[in-house]
Symmetry: C2
Subunit: 214 residues, 2 copies
Amino acid sequence: MQPKTRWRRRKEARPGEIIDAALNLFVQHGFSATRLDDVAAEAGVSKGTVYLYFDNKESLFRAMVQELIVPVVAQAEEHAAQFQGTQTELIRMLVHSWWDNVGKTRLANMPKLMVSEAAHFPELARYYVDNVVKRARKLLEDALYKGIEQGEFESCDVKSAARILLSPLVFSVIWEKSLAPFDSDDYDIATYIALHLDIFFNGISLDSGVTEHV
Amino acid sequence: MQPKTRWRRRKEARPGEIIDAALNLFVQHGFSATRLDDVAAEAGVSKGTVYLYFDNKESLFRAMVQELIVPVVAQAEEHAAQFQGTQTELIRMLVHSWWDNVGKTRLANMPKLMVSEAAHFPELARYYVDNVVKRARKLLEDALYKGIEQGEFESCDVKSAARILLSPLVFSVIWEKSLAPFDSDDYDIATYIALHLDIFFNGISLDSGVTEHV
DNA sequence: CTAATTAATGACTCAATAGTCAGTAATAAA
DNA sequence: TTTATTACTGACTATTGAGTCATTAATTAG
């Protein structure tokens, strides 16, 4: 069962394994507090090997972000494009699938990590905003526009409304991964999200009178 | 005009000046990326002087947090206690005064800083949650309870509702201090807050039907 | 089986910075 | 004016961790 060799040559598998190790440690300790020696150890290689596949610590960080999040956004866009139903139902579907694919997984750590590190990695921050945030917002904005056209929602400032819809979701994962462990009052996130959606849809339903902010 | 002396003895003023310098640099670069030499320089003293008044870098960080935020929370509590008017008006007042005293000032940097550093400073995180977050939530929860009793709002899960009310506000300052500089779509925060309050109050008004989450 | 290639290693260098402390100069006391 | 006190300095130490590279060993080619 013991391998005869001290190590194997596994050119194909290494980058993925290193990225995976990096994700675990970067989300746990942040960028600067993560030692590359530890990333290497977690990936089962030496530090030299990390430098064989990535130029430096920052480039590993970037690779990790790109690798992990873009597929999720793309999948959400496909789901939305194929969706049959009212815009209210579409938004509920997007929120719940975001929760299943991001909120409940280790990807839930990304928003806090990006917020914390944005100032140190401007190029990466721009990439994240363009490829994740803007695309996510656009899905919601499009649904809100259509919903207004189709008479599901009161006319209102759609760009603000999309942010209002998104904020409590993103904030909840940031909170969970930062201060929640120190908060003795716990709460049920499923109830929180359900109530948020109910208040929001009630708030923008046609009889609501939120027209002053068009 | 030139002072004859190379430096002055100013035992009373130093700690405050050092805390002030620390705030400017910690919020700009984060905790670990801030050099104590730079804090000292910004405060107009040498590094040795910083260690005369604070045990170490962490203790300076804690002093800064305590010094700056607790007074703001205490003031909000007083305002709320003295308030005459409906609970809807009270909540609107609290939100707007939070915006004036936190959102528009350099204190707006605190949420992002705490979220980023919480994992490295568990004791400080607990202090912040207990002395800032819980007290802020309590103000809103109390207003919502009273509003329900007095028939202003539909009965609902008050703890979740208070978080839903707070999230978009806190998130907006975190966003502004992190990724917003990389986001070309800008938006007007005043419009966003006004719309949030309108949607929220419409959403929980008596005719809304959000009763299922009691 | 032997030689050539290259994936992988880990001891090393180098830079950055938290924290120390012996010495200095401003102030107060005698 | 002289002496005692102490706020303040800044050069120093100790540590940490990013990035390098000469060497080693797994694999492939001949």
